[in-house]
Protein backbone atom coordinates (compact mmCIF):
# COMPACT_ATOMS: atom_id res chain seq x y z
CA UNK A 1 0.00 0.00 0.00
CA UNK A 2 1.32 3.42 -0.91
CA UNK A 3 1.53 5.93 1.91
CA UNK A 4 1.30 9.15 -0.02
CA UNK A 5 0.57 12.38 1.80
CA UNK A 6 -1.15 14.84 -0.49
CA UNK A 7 -0.90 18.49 0.55
CA UNK A 8 -3.35 20.98 -0.92
CA UNK A 9 -1.41 24.21 -1.31
CA UNK A 10 -3.42 27.41 -0.91
CA UNK A 11 -2.61 30.43 -3.01
CA UNK A 12 -4.51 33.67 -3.03
CA UNK A 13 -4.01 36.06 -5.93
CA UNK A 14 -0.83 34.24 -6.91
CA UNK A 15 0.79 34.17 -3.47
CA UNK A 16 1.00 31.10 -1.24
CA UNK A 17 -0.42 31.50 2.22
CA UNK A 18 2.18 30.91 4.91
CA UNK A 19 0.10 28.01 6.21
CA UNK A 20 0.84 26.17 2.95
CA UNK A 21 4.52 25.89 3.92
CA UNK A 22 3.54 24.90 7.46
CA UNK A 23 1.27 22.14 6.17
CA UNK A 24 3.83 20.96 3.66
CA UNK A 25 6.49 20.76 6.38
CA UNK A 26 4.08 18.87 8.65
CA UNK A 27 3.18 16.64 5.70
CA UNK A 28 6.81 15.74 5.13
CA UNK A 29 7.22 14.83 8.80
CA UNK A 30 4.05 12.74 8.68
CA UNK A 31 5.15 11.02 5.46
CA UNK A 32 8.37 10.12 7.28
CA UNK A 33 6.36 8.42 10.02
CA UNK A 34 4.22 6.60 7.47
CA UNK A 35 7.18 5.58 5.34
CA UNK A 36 5.84 7.45 2.32
CA UNK A 37 6.43 10.67 0.48
CA UNK A 38 4.67 13.97 0.11
CA UNK A 39 3.08 15.42 -3.00
CA UNK A 40 1.53 18.84 -3.34
CA UNK A 41 -1.25 20.11 -5.52
CA UNK A 42 -1.85 23.75 -6.27
CA UNK A 43 -5.09 24.96 -7.82
CA UNK A 44 -5.78 28.20 -9.63
CA UNK A 45 -5.54 29.90 -12.99
CA UNK A 46 -2.22 30.91 -14.55
CA UNK A 47 -0.28 29.58 -11.58
CA UNK A 48 2.29 27.33 -13.21
CA UNK A 49 5.11 29.66 -12.21
CA UNK A 50 4.26 29.26 -8.53
CA UNK A 51 4.64 25.51 -8.34
CA UNK A 52 8.42 25.16 -8.07
CA UNK A 53 8.47 26.98 -4.71
CA UNK A 54 6.74 24.00 -3.12
CA UNK A 55 9.74 21.78 -3.93
CA UNK A 56 11.75 23.75 -1.36
CA UNK A 57 9.66 22.27 1.45
CA UNK A 58 10.01 18.63 0.55
CA UNK A 59 7.37 18.04 -2.12
CA UNK A 60 8.49 15.12 -4.27
CA UNK A 61 5.96 15.94 -6.94
CA UNK A 62 3.88 19.04 -7.52
CA UNK A 63 0.64 18.81 -9.44
CA UNK A 64 -0.63 21.96 -11.05
CA UNK A 65 -4.39 22.17 -11.48
CA UNK A 66 -4.59 25.16 -13.78
CA UNK A 67 -7.95 26.18 -15.17
CA UNK A 68 -9.82 29.48 -15.55
CA UNK A 69 -12.70 27.95 -13.55
CA UNK A 70 -10.31 27.56 -10.59
CA UNK A 71 -9.21 31.22 -10.59
CA UNK A 72 -11.31 31.95 -7.52
CA UNK A 73 -12.04 29.34 -4.91
CA UNK A 74 -15.46 27.78 -4.87
CA UNK A 75 -16.03 24.69 -2.79
CA UNK A 76 -17.72 22.99 -5.71
CA UNK A 77 -15.04 23.54 -8.38
CA UNK A 78 -12.15 22.73 -6.04
CA UNK A 79 -13.89 19.62 -4.72
CA UNK A 80 -14.53 18.37 -8.25
CA UNK A 81 -10.93 19.01 -9.29
CA UNK A 82 -9.47 17.35 -6.20
CA UNK A 83 -11.80 14.36 -6.12
CA UNK A 84 -10.53 13.38 -9.56
CA UNK A 85 -6.88 13.77 -8.54
CA UNK A 86 -7.38 11.86 -5.31
CA UNK A 87 -8.83 9.01 -7.35
CA UNK A 88 -5.60 8.82 -9.34
CA UNK A 89 -3.12 9.35 -6.50
CA UNK A 90 -4.90 7.31 -3.81
CA UNK A 91 -3.23 9.18 -0.95
CA UNK A 92 -3.34 7.80 2.58
CA UNK A 93 -3.61 11.32 3.97
CA UNK A 94 -4.78 14.66 2.60
CA UNK A 95 -3.57 17.75 4.44
CA UNK A 96 -4.64 21.34 3.97
CA UNK A 97 -4.61 24.59 5.91
CA UNK A 98 -7.55 25.22 8.25
CA UNK A 99 -8.34 28.51 6.54
CA UNK A 100 -11.80 29.68 5.48
CA UNK A 101 -11.49 27.78 2.23
CA UNK A 102 -9.58 24.84 3.68
CA UNK A 103 -12.24 24.12 6.28
CA UNK A 104 -15.01 24.21 3.69
CA UNK A 105 -13.08 22.17 1.16
CA UNK A 106 -12.14 19.56 3.76
CA UNK A 107 -15.80 19.14 4.71
CA UNK A 108 -17.06 18.78 1.14
CA UNK A 109 -14.23 16.40 0.22
CA UNK A 110 -14.93 14.25 3.28
CA UNK A 111 -18.49 13.71 2.07
CA UNK A 112 -17.46 13.18 -1.56
CA UNK A 113 -14.81 10.62 -0.62
CA UNK A 114 -16.61 9.19 2.42
CA UNK A 115 -13.44 10.01 4.34
CA UNK A 116 -12.58 10.80 7.95
CA UNK A 117 -12.04 14.50 8.64
CA UNK A 118 -10.31 16.31 11.49
CA UNK A 119 -10.63 20.09 11.27
CA UNK A 120 -8.22 22.64 12.70
CA UNK A 121 -5.61 20.19 13.98
CA UNK A 122 -2.80 21.56 16.13
CA UNK A 123 -0.88 18.27 16.20
CA UNK A 124 -0.47 15.26 13.94
CA UNK A 125 0.95 11.81 14.44
CA UNK A 126 0.68 8.14 13.57
CA UNK A 127 -0.34 5.42 16.01
CA UNK A 128 -0.53 1.77 14.94
CA UNK A 129 -0.63 2.85 11.32
CA UNK A 130 -3.52 5.25 11.81
CA UNK A 131 -3.42 9.02 11.69
CA UNK A 132 -4.07 10.69 15.03
CA UNK A 133 -4.85 14.39 15.04
CA UNK A 134 -4.96 16.63 18.09
CA UNK A 135 -7.62 19.27 17.76
CA UNK A 136 -9.27 21.83 20.00
CA UNK A 137 -12.93 21.46 20.87
CA UNK A 138 -15.29 23.73 22.81
CA UNK A 139 -13.41 26.70 21.48
CA UNK A 140 -10.10 25.43 22.86
CA UNK A 141 -11.31 24.56 26.35
CA UNK A 142 -10.45 20.91 25.58
CA UNK A 143 -7.98 19.19 23.26
CA UNK A 144 -9.08 15.95 21.63
CA UNK A 145 -6.87 13.23 20.19
CA UNK A 146 -8.93 11.77 17.37
CA UNK A 147 -8.17 8.64 15.37
CA UNK A 148 -9.02 8.73 11.67
CA UNK A 149 -9.92 5.44 10.05
CA UNK A 150 -9.99 4.60 6.37
CA UNK A 151 -8.29 6.13 3.38
CA UNK A 152 -7.80 8.91 2.76
CA UNK A 153 -7.76 10.63 6.16
CA UNK A 154 -8.33 14.36 5.72
CA UNK A 155 -6.81 16.80 8.19
CA UNK A 156 -6.94 20.58 8.05
CA UNK A 157 -4.15 22.13 10.05
CA UNK A 158 -4.48 25.31 12.08
CA UNK A 159 -2.24 28.15 10.89
CA UNK A 160 0.73 29.07 13.09
CA UNK A 161 0.98 25.67 14.77
CA UNK A 162 3.49 23.78 12.60
CA UNK A 163 7.16 24.65 12.17
CA UNK A 164 8.22 25.47 8.63
CA UNK A 165 11.24 23.43 7.52
CA UNK A 166 12.94 23.91 4.23
CA UNK A 167 13.85 20.54 2.70
CA UNK A 168 14.91 19.65 -0.79
CA UNK A 169 12.29 17.53 -2.53
CA UNK A 170 12.51 16.30 -6.10
CA UNK A 171 9.99 18.99 -6.89
CA UNK A 172 8.94 17.52 -10.24
CA UNK A 173 6.16 19.69 -11.62
CA UNK A 174 3.35 18.02 -13.52
CA UNK A 175 0.21 19.44 -15.06
CA UNK A 176 -2.88 17.73 -13.69
CA UNK A 177 -5.62 16.46 -15.98
CA UNK A 178 -8.89 17.91 -14.70
CA UNK A 179 -12.55 17.05 -14.87
CA UNK A 180 -14.51 19.92 -13.39
CA UNK A 181 -18.05 18.98 -14.46
CA UNK A 182 -20.99 21.36 -14.22
CA UNK A 183 -20.30 24.22 -11.87
CA UNK A 184 -23.25 26.00 -10.31
CA UNK A 185 -21.66 28.41 -7.84
CA UNK A 186 -19.38 31.21 -8.91
CA UNK A 187 -17.49 34.10 -7.35
CA UNK A 188 -18.90 37.35 -8.69
CA UNK A 189 -16.96 39.85 -6.60
CA UNK A 190 -14.16 40.20 -4.07
CA UNK A 191 -12.75 42.92 -1.89
CA UNK A 192 -9.46 42.68 0.00
CA UNK A 193 -8.04 45.24 2.36
CA UNK A 194 -4.57 45.64 0.97
CA UNK A 195 -1.70 44.89 3.31
CA UNK A 196 -3.97 43.70 6.08
CA UNK A 197 -2.46 40.85 8.09
CA UNK A 198 -5.10 38.22 8.85
CA UNK A 199 -5.71 37.51 12.52
CA UNK A 200 -5.32 33.74 12.21
CA UNK A 201 -1.99 33.92 10.41
CA UNK A 202 -0.43 36.93 12.13
CA UNK A 203 2.77 36.54 14.17
CA UNK A 204 1.44 39.14 16.58
CA UNK A 205 -2.08 40.25 17.50
CA UNK A 206 -3.13 43.34 19.46
CA UNK A 207 -6.71 43.18 20.69
CA UNK A 208 -8.87 45.93 22.14
CA UNK A 209 -11.79 45.11 24.42
CA UNK A 210 -14.48 46.91 26.35
CA UNK A 211 -11.82 49.07 27.97
CA UNK A 212 -11.37 50.85 24.63
CA UNK A 213 -14.56 52.69 25.52
CA UNK A 214 -15.39 53.45 21.88
CA UNK A 215 -14.64 52.89 18.23
CA UNK A 216 -11.36 54.84 18.31
CA UNK A 217 -8.74 52.09 18.02
CA UNK A 218 -5.89 54.37 17.01
CA UNK A 219 -3.81 53.52 20.11
CA UNK A 220 -4.20 49.79 19.40
CA UNK A 221 -3.52 50.29 15.70
CA UNK A 222 -0.35 52.28 16.44
CA UNK A 223 1.07 49.47 18.58
CA UNK A 224 -0.01 46.90 15.99
CA UNK A 225 1.77 49.02 13.40
CA UNK A 226 5.18 48.88 15.10
CA UNK A 227 4.76 45.16 15.81
CA UNK A 228 3.51 44.27 12.31
CA UNK A 229 0.51 42.83 14.13
CA UNK A 230 -3.10 42.22 13.21
CA UNK A 231 -5.80 44.04 15.20
CA UNK A 232 -8.41 42.00 17.03
CA UNK A 233 -11.43 42.76 19.17
CA UNK A 234 -13.26 41.14 22.05
CA UNK A 235 -16.86 40.09 21.70
CA UNK A 236 -18.11 43.07 23.69
CA UNK A 237 -16.26 45.48 21.39
CA UNK A 238 -17.89 43.79 18.39
CA UNK A 239 -21.31 43.80 20.06
CA UNK A 240 -20.90 47.53 20.71
CA UNK A 241 -20.33 47.98 17.00
CA UNK A 242 -16.79 49.34 17.47
CA UNK A 243 -15.20 46.67 15.26
CA UNK A 244 -16.48 44.24 12.59
CA UNK A 245 -17.40 40.69 13.56
CA UNK A 246 -14.51 39.42 11.44
CA UNK A 247 -12.07 40.95 13.98
CA UNK A 248 -13.50 39.00 16.91
CA UNK A 249 -11.19 36.70 18.86
CA UNK A 250 -12.83 34.03 21.01
CA UNK A 251 -15.15 31.04 21.05
CA UNK A 252 -17.70 32.68 18.76
CA UNK A 253 -15.00 34.36 16.70
CA UNK A 254 -11.53 33.42 15.58
CA UNK A 255 -9.00 31.32 17.40
CA UNK A 256 -5.49 32.69 17.18
CA UNK A 257 -2.06 31.29 18.09
CA UNK A 258 0.40 34.11 17.44
CA UNK A 259 3.86 34.42 18.99
CA UNK A 260 2.73 37.55 20.80
CA UNK A 261 -0.80 38.45 21.90
CA UNK A 262 -1.41 41.83 23.50
CA UNK A 263 -4.82 42.18 25.18
CA UNK A 264 -5.76 45.80 25.85
CA UNK A 265 -8.76 46.52 28.03
CA UNK A 266 -9.91 42.91 27.64
CA UNK A 267 -11.22 41.40 30.88
CA UNK A 268 -10.61 37.81 29.77
CA UNK A 269 -14.01 36.11 29.78
CA UNK A 270 -13.74 32.33 29.39
CA UNK A 271 -14.91 32.56 25.75
CA UNK A 272 -12.13 35.01 24.97
CA UNK A 273 -9.45 33.02 26.77
CA UNK A 274 -10.48 29.94 24.78
CA UNK A 275 -9.71 31.79 21.57
CA UNK A 276 -6.23 33.01 22.41
CA UNK A 277 -4.70 30.95 25.21
CA UNK A 278 -2.58 28.96 22.76
CA UNK A 279 -0.64 32.15 21.97
CA UNK A 280 3.03 31.77 22.82
CA UNK A 281 3.41 34.95 24.85
CA UNK A 282 0.49 36.91 26.27
CA UNK A 283 0.65 40.52 27.43
CA UNK A 284 -2.27 42.10 29.26
CA UNK A 285 -2.82 45.79 29.77
CA UNK A 286 -5.76 46.45 32.03
CA UNK A 287 -6.67 48.94 34.72
CA UNK A 288 -8.30 46.20 36.81
CA UNK A 289 -5.70 44.08 38.64
CA UNK A 290 -8.42 41.47 39.30
CA UNK A 291 -9.29 40.98 35.60
CA UNK A 292 -9.00 37.25 34.74
CA UNK A 293 -6.71 38.06 31.79
CA UNK A 294 -4.00 39.24 34.23
CA UNK A 295 -3.69 35.73 35.69
CA UNK A 296 -3.29 34.21 32.21
CA UNK A 297 -0.78 36.74 30.93
CA UNK A 298 2.96 36.21 30.87
CA UNK A 299 3.41 39.94 31.37
CA UNK A 300 0.85 42.36 32.68
CA UNK A 301 0.74 46.08 33.20
CA UNK A 302 -2.00 47.42 35.43
CA UNK A 303 -2.83 50.88 34.21
CA UNK A 304 -4.75 53.09 31.83
CA UNK A 305 -4.34 51.64 28.35
CA UNK A 306 -4.53 55.09 26.77
CA UNK A 307 -1.33 56.00 28.67
CA UNK A 308 0.37 52.61 28.48
CA UNK A 309 -0.17 51.94 24.76
CA UNK A 310 1.51 55.10 23.42
CA UNK A 311 4.42 54.62 25.84
CA UNK A 312 4.81 50.98 24.86
CA UNK A 313 4.58 51.85 21.16
CA UNK A 314 7.43 54.38 21.62
CA UNK A 315 9.61 51.94 23.58
CA UNK A 316 9.16 49.17 21.01
CA UNK A 317 9.94 51.59 18.21
CA UNK A 318 13.18 52.49 20.04
CA UNK A 319 14.18 48.86 20.57
CA UNK A 320 13.42 47.90 17.00
CA UNK A 321 15.49 50.90 15.90
Amino acid sequence: MTQQVLVIAEQVEGVFRKVTFEVLSAGRRLAGQLGGSVQAVVLGSGIEGLAAELGQYGAEKILVADDPALADFTTEAYTNALAGLVGQIQPAVILLGATTQGKDLGARLSARLNAALATDAVGLGVDAGQVVATRPMYGGKVLADVVLTGMPAIVSVRPNTQAIEAAAGAGAVEKAALTLGDLRSKVVGKQFESGKVDLTEADAVVTGGRGMGGADYSAVEALAGVLGAAVGASRSAVDEGWRPASDQVGQTGKTVSPNLYVACGVSGAIQHLAGMSSSKVIVAINKDPEAPIIAKADYAIVGDLFEVLPALTEEIKKIKG
Binding site: A115, P136, V142, A144, K186, A245, Q251
Partner: protein
Protein backbone atom coordinates in the same frame (compact mmCIF):
# COMPACT_ATOMS: atom_id res chain seq x y z
CA UNK B 1 -40.06 29.46 -0.19
CA UNK B 2 -39.49 26.18 1.64
CA UNK B 3 -36.63 26.71 4.06
CA UNK B 4 -34.86 24.13 6.21
CA UNK B 5 -32.71 25.20 9.13
CA UNK B 6 -30.11 23.01 10.85
CA UNK B 7 -29.62 23.51 14.56
CA UNK B 8 -27.57 21.82 17.25
CA UNK B 9 -27.84 21.94 21.00
CA UNK B 10 -24.47 22.77 22.59
CA UNK B 11 -23.10 23.83 25.97
CA UNK B 12 -23.49 27.59 26.46
CA UNK B 13 -20.22 29.32 25.64
CA UNK B 14 -19.80 30.55 29.22
CA UNK B 15 -19.58 26.91 30.41
CA UNK B 16 -16.50 25.55 32.09
CA UNK B 17 -15.73 22.27 30.35
CA UNK B 18 -14.46 19.33 32.42
CA UNK B 19 -13.47 15.91 31.14
CA UNK B 20 -15.61 12.99 32.31
CA UNK B 21 -14.26 9.84 33.95
CA UNK B 22 -14.27 7.90 30.66
CA UNK B 23 -11.66 10.31 29.30
CA UNK B 24 -13.44 10.72 25.97
CA UNK B 25 -16.47 12.83 26.84
CA UNK B 26 -17.25 15.89 28.95
CA UNK B 27 -19.11 16.22 32.23
CA UNK B 28 -22.59 17.47 31.51
CA UNK B 29 -23.80 18.01 35.08
CA UNK B 30 -24.63 21.62 35.70
CA UNK B 31 -24.00 22.63 32.09
CA UNK B 32 -26.61 24.80 30.46
CA UNK B 33 -27.41 23.60 26.95
CA UNK B 34 -28.52 26.14 24.37
CA UNK B 35 -28.99 26.49 20.65
CA UNK B 36 -25.60 26.86 18.95
CA UNK B 37 -25.08 30.65 18.59
CA UNK B 38 -24.44 30.46 14.82
CA UNK B 39 -27.66 28.46 14.40
CA UNK B 40 -29.58 31.35 15.97
CA UNK B 41 -28.35 33.44 13.04
CA UNK B 42 -29.57 30.73 10.67
CA UNK B 43 -33.05 30.63 12.24
CA UNK B 44 -33.28 34.42 12.16
CA UNK B 45 -32.30 34.61 8.50
CA UNK B 46 -34.82 31.92 7.57
CA UNK B 47 -37.59 33.78 9.41
CA UNK B 48 -36.70 37.04 7.68
CA UNK B 49 -36.85 35.37 4.28
CA UNK B 50 -40.20 33.77 5.12
CA UNK B 51 -41.53 37.14 6.31
CA UNK B 52 -40.51 38.69 3.00
CA UNK B 53 -41.52 35.90 0.64
CA UNK B 54 -43.88 33.57 2.50
CA UNK B 55 -43.30 29.87 2.91
CA UNK B 56 -42.39 27.46 5.68
CA UNK B 57 -39.44 27.19 8.02
CA UNK B 58 -38.63 23.67 9.22
CA UNK B 59 -35.95 23.07 11.83
CA UNK B 60 -33.91 19.88 11.84
CA UNK B 61 -31.55 18.67 14.52
CA UNK B 62 -29.57 15.51 15.25
CA UNK B 63 -29.26 14.78 18.93
CA UNK B 64 -30.72 13.08 21.98
CA UNK B 65 -34.32 13.68 23.13
CA UNK B 66 -33.08 16.69 25.11
CA UNK B 67 -32.04 18.42 21.85
CA UNK B 68 -35.75 18.95 21.16
CA UNK B 69 -35.33 21.97 23.47
CA UNK B 70 -33.16 23.67 20.84
CA UNK B 71 -35.78 22.97 18.18
CA UNK B 72 -38.48 24.39 20.50
CA UNK B 73 -36.36 27.52 20.88
CA UNK B 74 -36.40 27.90 17.10
CA UNK B 75 -40.15 27.26 17.00
CA UNK B 76 -40.59 29.90 19.71
CA UNK B 77 -38.61 32.35 17.58
CA UNK B 78 -41.19 31.72 14.86
CA UNK B 79 -40.29 28.60 12.86
CA UNK B 80 -43.21 26.38 11.77
CA UNK B 81 -42.21 22.81 12.57
CA UNK B 82 -39.35 20.63 13.66
CA UNK B 83 -37.77 17.26 13.05
CA UNK B 84 -35.47 15.68 15.63
CA UNK B 85 -33.30 12.80 14.52
CA UNK B 86 -32.35 10.81 17.59
CA UNK B 87 -29.49 8.37 16.93
CA UNK B 88 -30.13 6.65 20.27
CA UNK B 89 -27.13 4.67 21.49
CA UNK B 90 -25.12 5.08 18.30
CA UNK B 91 -21.96 7.16 18.35
CA UNK B 92 -22.16 9.43 15.33
CA UNK B 93 -19.36 11.56 13.84
CA UNK B 94 -19.79 14.67 11.70
CA UNK B 95 -20.15 12.77 8.46
CA UNK B 96 -22.68 10.40 10.09
CA UNK B 97 -24.67 13.44 11.23
CA UNK B 98 -24.69 14.75 7.67
CA UNK B 99 -25.84 11.33 6.42
CA UNK B 100 -28.76 11.31 8.86
CA UNK B 101 -29.78 14.81 7.82
CA UNK B 102 -29.46 13.97 4.14
CA UNK B 103 -31.70 10.93 4.58
CA UNK B 104 -34.31 13.02 6.39
CA UNK B 105 -34.18 15.84 3.83
CA UNK B 106 -34.16 13.84 0.59
CA UNK B 107 -37.95 13.19 0.63
CA UNK B 108 -38.71 16.85 1.49
CA UNK B 109 -39.17 19.65 -0.98
CA UNK B 110 -36.96 22.67 -0.24
CA UNK B 111 -35.44 25.73 -1.86
CA UNK B 112 -32.95 26.77 0.75
CA UNK B 113 -31.09 25.23 3.69
CA UNK B 114 -29.62 27.57 6.28
CA UNK B 115 -27.10 26.43 8.90
CA UNK B 116 -24.60 27.91 11.31
CA UNK B 117 -21.10 27.69 9.86
CA UNK B 118 -19.94 25.59 12.80
CA UNK B 119 -21.11 24.28 16.14
CA UNK B 120 -19.18 25.66 19.08
CA UNK B 121 -18.82 22.26 20.77
CA UNK B 122 -17.07 20.06 18.17
CA UNK B 123 -15.84 23.05 16.14
CA UNK B 124 -15.52 20.70 13.16
CA UNK B 125 -17.03 22.93 10.43
CA UNK B 126 -18.19 19.75 8.70
CA UNK B 127 -21.88 18.93 8.89
CA UNK B 128 -23.46 21.72 6.82
CA UNK B 129 -21.01 21.54 3.93
CA UNK B 130 -20.95 17.72 3.93
CA UNK B 131 -24.76 17.70 3.86
CA UNK B 132 -24.78 19.93 0.76
CA UNK B 133 -22.45 17.46 -0.94
CA UNK B 134 -24.65 14.49 0.00
CA UNK B 135 -27.68 16.33 -1.39
CA UNK B 136 -25.66 17.31 -4.49
CA UNK B 137 -26.48 21.01 -4.07
CA UNK B 138 -24.04 23.94 -3.93
CA UNK B 139 -23.01 25.44 -0.59
CA UNK B 140 -21.85 28.90 0.38
CA UNK B 141 -20.07 29.36 3.72
CA UNK B 142 -19.34 32.24 6.07
CA UNK B 143 -22.29 34.27 4.83
CA UNK B 144 -22.81 37.75 6.30
CA UNK B 145 -25.41 38.96 3.78
CA UNK B 146 -27.69 37.31 1.25
CA UNK B 147 -30.02 38.36 -1.50
CA UNK B 148 -32.54 36.11 -3.22
CA UNK B 149 -33.75 36.90 -6.72
CA UNK B 150 -34.73 35.00 -9.87
CA UNK B 151 -34.17 31.57 -8.38
CA UNK B 152 -30.63 32.46 -7.32
CA UNK B 153 -28.91 33.53 -4.15
CA UNK B 154 -26.07 36.00 -3.98
CA UNK B 155 -24.06 36.02 -0.74
CA UNK B 156 -21.42 38.22 0.79
CA UNK B 157 -18.95 36.00 2.64
CA UNK B 158 -16.02 36.71 4.91
CA UNK B 159 -12.61 35.43 3.87
CA UNK B 160 -9.16 36.16 5.29
CA UNK B 161 -8.45 39.84 4.82
CA UNK B 162 -11.69 40.72 3.08
CA UNK B 163 -14.97 39.56 1.61
CA UNK B 164 -16.17 37.84 -1.53
CA UNK B 165 -19.50 37.57 -3.26
CA UNK B 166 -20.70 34.17 -4.38
CA UNK B 167 -23.75 33.35 -6.47
CA UNK B 168 -25.52 30.01 -6.88
CA UNK B 169 -28.88 28.75 -8.13
CA UNK B 170 -31.47 27.31 -5.71
CA UNK B 171 -31.66 24.90 -4.05
CA UNK B 172 -28.57 25.83 -2.11
CA UNK B 173 -27.18 25.55 1.41
CA UNK B 174 -25.79 28.66 3.09
CA UNK B 175 -23.85 28.75 6.37
CA UNK B 176 -24.17 31.79 8.61
CA UNK B 177 -21.34 33.81 10.09
CA UNK B 178 -21.64 36.53 12.75
CA UNK B 179 -22.69 39.79 11.17
CA UNK B 180 -25.52 38.22 9.14
CA UNK B 181 -28.22 39.53 11.49
CA UNK B 182 -29.17 40.04 15.13
CA UNK B 183 -31.24 37.01 16.14
CA UNK B 184 -34.56 37.82 17.79
CA UNK B 185 -35.44 36.54 21.23
CA UNK B 186 -38.32 34.16 21.66
CA UNK B 187 -41.30 36.09 23.01
CA UNK B 188 -43.53 34.68 25.74
CA UNK B 189 -46.46 34.18 23.32
CA UNK B 190 -43.94 32.64 20.94
CA UNK B 191 -42.87 30.17 23.61
CA UNK B 192 -46.49 29.27 24.34
CA UNK B 193 -47.27 28.77 20.64
CA UNK B 194 -44.14 26.68 20.13
CA UNK B 195 -45.46 24.04 22.50
CA UNK B 196 -48.26 23.26 20.04
CA UNK B 197 -46.18 23.31 16.85
CA UNK B 198 -45.46 19.94 15.22
CA UNK B 199 -42.19 18.29 16.23
CA UNK B 200 -41.60 14.76 15.07
CA UNK B 201 -38.79 12.46 16.15
CA UNK B 202 -37.15 10.02 13.78
CA UNK B 203 -34.68 7.22 14.39
CA UNK B 204 -31.96 6.12 11.96
CA UNK B 205 -34.14 3.07 11.19
CA UNK B 206 -37.05 5.37 10.23
CA UNK B 207 -34.67 6.94 7.72
CA UNK B 208 -33.55 3.60 6.35
CA UNK B 209 -30.08 3.78 7.89
CA UNK B 210 -28.44 0.98 9.85
CA UNK B 211 -25.58 1.22 12.33
CA UNK B 212 -23.19 0.01 9.61
CA UNK B 213 -24.13 2.99 7.40
CA UNK B 214 -23.28 5.38 10.20
CA UNK B 215 -20.07 3.78 11.45
CA UNK B 216 -17.93 6.69 12.68
CA UNK B 217 -14.68 7.25 10.78
CA UNK B 218 -13.41 9.63 13.43
CA UNK B 219 -13.15 8.43 17.01
CA UNK B 220 -12.13 10.42 20.05
CA UNK B 221 -9.27 8.53 21.67
CA UNK B 222 -8.68 10.94 24.55
CA UNK B 223 -9.67 14.37 25.72
CA UNK B 224 -7.03 16.47 27.43
CA UNK B 225 -7.10 19.75 29.24
CA UNK B 226 -4.95 22.35 27.49
CA UNK B 227 -1.75 23.29 29.33
CA UNK B 228 -2.57 25.72 32.14
CA UNK B 229 -0.88 29.04 31.65
CA UNK B 230 1.30 29.94 34.60
CA UNK B 231 0.53 33.05 36.56
CA UNK B 232 1.75 36.24 35.05
CA UNK B 233 4.46 38.66 35.96
CA UNK B 234 3.18 42.08 36.90
CA UNK B 235 5.43 44.77 35.48
CA UNK B 236 6.26 47.31 38.18
CA UNK B 237 7.74 50.75 37.71
CA UNK B 238 7.63 54.34 38.93
CA UNK B 239 5.96 55.66 35.83
CA UNK B 240 4.07 54.51 32.79
CA UNK B 241 7.24 55.11 30.73
CA UNK B 242 9.33 52.96 33.09
CA UNK B 243 6.79 50.12 32.92
CA UNK B 244 6.58 50.34 29.15
CA UNK B 245 10.38 50.32 28.81
CA UNK B 246 10.65 47.33 31.13
CA UNK B 247 7.99 45.40 29.19
CA UNK B 248 9.59 46.19 25.84
CA UNK B 249 12.96 44.96 27.17
CA UNK B 250 11.44 41.71 28.52
CA UNK B 251 9.63 41.04 25.25
CA UNK B 252 12.91 41.34 23.41
CA UNK B 253 15.41 39.78 25.81
CA UNK B 254 13.40 37.22 27.78
CA UNK B 255 10.41 36.29 25.59
CA UNK B 256 12.29 37.01 22.34
CA UNK B 257 9.11 37.86 20.48
CA UNK B 258 10.02 41.33 19.18
Amino acid sequence: MEILVLVKQVPATESMIAIAGDGVSIKTDGIKFVMNPYDELAVEEALKIREAQGGTVTILSVGPAKAAEAIRTGLAMGADKGILIDPGDLTIDGLGTAKLLAAAIKPLSYDLIVAGHRAVDDDNFQVATALAELLAIPNISMVIKQELADGKIRCLCTVEGGTKEVEAPLPVLIAAQRGLNDPRYASLPGIMKAKKKPLETKTPADLGLAAADLQPLVKVKALKAPAERKGGRLIEGDSVQAKAAQLARLLREEAKVI
